[in-house]
């Protein structure tokens, strides 16, 4: 009986419809994936070919001349990332510890929600915030302001990864420590954090990778500089901003970054 029912034309039609529908989703996937892989491949090919020693160690040439490098931007980016870590990581990691160890109450929920909101604030808006906070009172563009903007952007991811990886440490480990009479803070610092450390560090590296590519918040905080920056209270160049400002050979400068990024990964 049932077999006959399944052989009916209606069922065959349904099956055929399903096949066609799946074929169309396969087309979607093929289209999207080929576009995406084209991008990855394009960046890879162009990136590798333009990395050389000059590129990494020389200053940019004046507009119109070819050659030159972006050493100042490399150093500037490193400087900005260092500052960002200084601003963002303590806040992010400590807040993550709070959420995981003490945050199972209403305040914790509010902090979690706010963190997610902060994660969604457009980077350019955070740039404006850093501008009003640092650049307006000091009347100059500084690496400090750029670092602060990037630091604020690093916080949400640092919070969430710290919390998640600390939550993965089994409760029994904590209980064992308590049973030995170890105070709670020592349990957290010497037992829970070392256990979760690898995950937290990976999360933080990804966090750095994310803000390393940010341009928008730096345009009017760290601003950019064609020469070596003389300190954190001076305008400072960075790779992404450099890419935006380089007028003609941007292909060379621009696509070298993904190569570097790929290495990073």
């Amino acid at each position: 009986m049932t077999l006959i029912a399944f052989d009916s034309g209606r069922y065959r039609r349904r099956k055929l419809f399903g096949r066609l529908a799946f074929a169309s989703t396969a087309l979607c996937a093929a289209g999207v994936l080929s576009a995406l892989f084209f991008i990855l491949g394009y960046l890879w090919v162009h990136g590798i070919s333009s990395i050389n020693w000059d590129f990494l160690t020389k200053l940019p040439k004046p507009v119109g001349e070819t050659g030159g490098g972006m050493a100042n931007a490399l150093v500037g980016s490193a400087e900005l990332l260092g500052l960002a870590g200084l601003f963002g990581l303590p806040t992010g990691v400590f807040a993550g510890i709070y959420l995981s160890e003490y945050g199972h109450n209403r305040f914790g929920t509010i902090v979690r929600y706010t963190t997610d909101i902060l994660n969604g604030v457009p980077s350019i808006v955070i740039g404006i915030f850093a501008y009003t906070l640092f650049v307006l009172p000091m009347r100059r563009f500084t690496a400090l302001a750029g670092g602060a903007a990037l630091g604020a952007m690093m916080i949400p991811i640092a919070v969430r990864t710290t919390e998640e990886f600390m939550n993965l440490v089994p409760t029994s480990v904590r209980e064992a420590a308590y049973a030995l009479g170890i105070p709670r803070w020592k349990t957290v610092v010497f037992i829970v954090i070392p256990t979760a450390l690898r995950g937290i560090v990976t999360g933080i590296m990804l966090d750095f990778a994310r803000v390393a590519g940010e341009t928008a918040p730096l345009l009017f905080t760290a601003f950019g500089n064609r020469y070596w920056s003389r300190g954190i209270l001076e305008p400072t160049s960075s790779l992404p901003v450099m890419i935006t400002h380089t007028p003609f050979p941007p292909m060379r400068t621009g696509t070298a970054r993904p190569g570097r990024r790929a290495w990073f990964f």
Binding site: G18, T25, A26, C28, T91
Partner: protein, 333 residues
């Protein structure tokens, strides 16, 4: 059979130690003060996040005072943006942001969800995992790079092929009329679509894969075809997760700055044609902020930032609520 991977076992909230364990032992003195100090430090950094987020809103509000007083609500519907004459209306930017984001979602959602259905329902698990890893890699490419690709690859393609073809076939619609510039709303929408698709695919795939096997098997047992299982069981199960992903993608599209600035043409006009160059809120901030010489100009720009902040706040809040409602259905994976 459902096999729980270790990372999917729900983490229980740690049990706070009883008073005896924490303070009553021989270590009591140092333990108690250390605990208080540690708790205080962690608490104050958490409060710092609240302060920071509040501070962003407050500083935008305060630094846009001049413009808010000068123009009031007119600011949002004024079409003239003339820094020299001190006339500021943000409509072209609002329009550009909304149009490009809508266009991006219109392209990205069907394609992204379709691809996710294929990856979660039809493709072998291993291939699907590798693909989604690569797709996630793309989500990490910085937006300046997308902007460069836009200028060098997408804009010429759009100018030479896409716009002439659209203009010839659908040119009677105001949407597709006008000369093909290449730079404009269409290119911006396309580049945004490319940027948010990885987002939509990965989240949608995840939620659809988390559909309980039992439900699928039950539907199969009732004689549903594979496609019917996908659309009547997995999709409804994943519905609110997908909606959350779309909202997150929307928030990203609204706030995206560099890539859009590089391909939209930066002209403050309100035009019905997708081929026309335009401007967005984020792009005008990126281009004009350092040039803003007089206070009113600066405050007008900050007010645009405020509008952008408000918009993404609302979109994000909705997205988080949706994503949370999925998560709170429990560890059913």
């Amino acid at each position: 059979m459902i096999v729980l991977a270790p990372e999917h076992v729900p983490a229980f909230p740690p049990v706070p130690p009883s008073r005896e364990a924490a303070g009553g032992s021989a270590f009591s003195r140092s333990g108690k003060w250390g605990d208080r100090l540690f708790h205080g430090a962690a608490l104050s950094f958490s409060a710092g996040i609240l302060l920071l987020t509040g501070g962003i809103g407050a500083s935008l509000w305060r630094n846009s005072a001049l413009s808010r007083h000068a123009f009031g609500w007119e600011f949002l519907i004024g079409r003239v943006w003339d820094p020299v004459a001190g006339q500021f209306g943000a409509l072209p930017f609002l329009y550009g942001t909304l149009l490009t984001s809508a266009l991006a979602l219109l392209i990205a959602v069907p394609l992204g969800v379709g691809a996710a259905i294929f990856l979660s329902e039809l493709a072998p698990r291993r291939i699907s995992d590798v693909m989604s890893f690569l797709i996630e890699l793309l989500a990490a490419v910085p937006s300046v790079i997308y902007g460069l690709l836009g200028i060098f690859v997408l804009v010429p393609l759009v100018r030479r092929f896409l716009e002439p073809v659209l203009g010839k076939t659908l040119g009677f619609l105001p949407l597709f009329s006008g000369p093909p510039y290449g730079v404009g709303f269409l290119s911006a929408g396309l580049i945004l679509a490319i940027m948010v698709i990885p987002f939509i695919i990965t989240v949608t795939r995840e939620v659809m894969l988390s559909t309980p096997k039992l439900l699928r098997e039950a539907a199969m047992a009732l004689g549903a075809t594979r496609w019917e299982v996908a659309t009547t069981v997995a999709l409804p199960f994943a519905r609110s997760g997908i909606a959350g992903a779309i909202f997150l993608a929307l928030a990203r599209a609204l706030g995206e700055t560099m890539a859009v600035t590089m391909v939209i043409g930066n002209t403050p006009v309100v035009s019905a044609s997708l081929f026309s160059p335009g401007y967005t809120m984020a792009a005008v901030l990126a281009n004009e902020f350092t040039e803003a010489s007089d206070p009113l100009y600066l405050h007008a720009l900050v007010e645009i930032g405020l509008v952008l902040f408000g918009a993404t706040l609302v979109v994000n809040a909705l997205a988080q609520l949706l994503v949370w409602s999925v998560k709170n259905r429990g560890g059913r994976r």
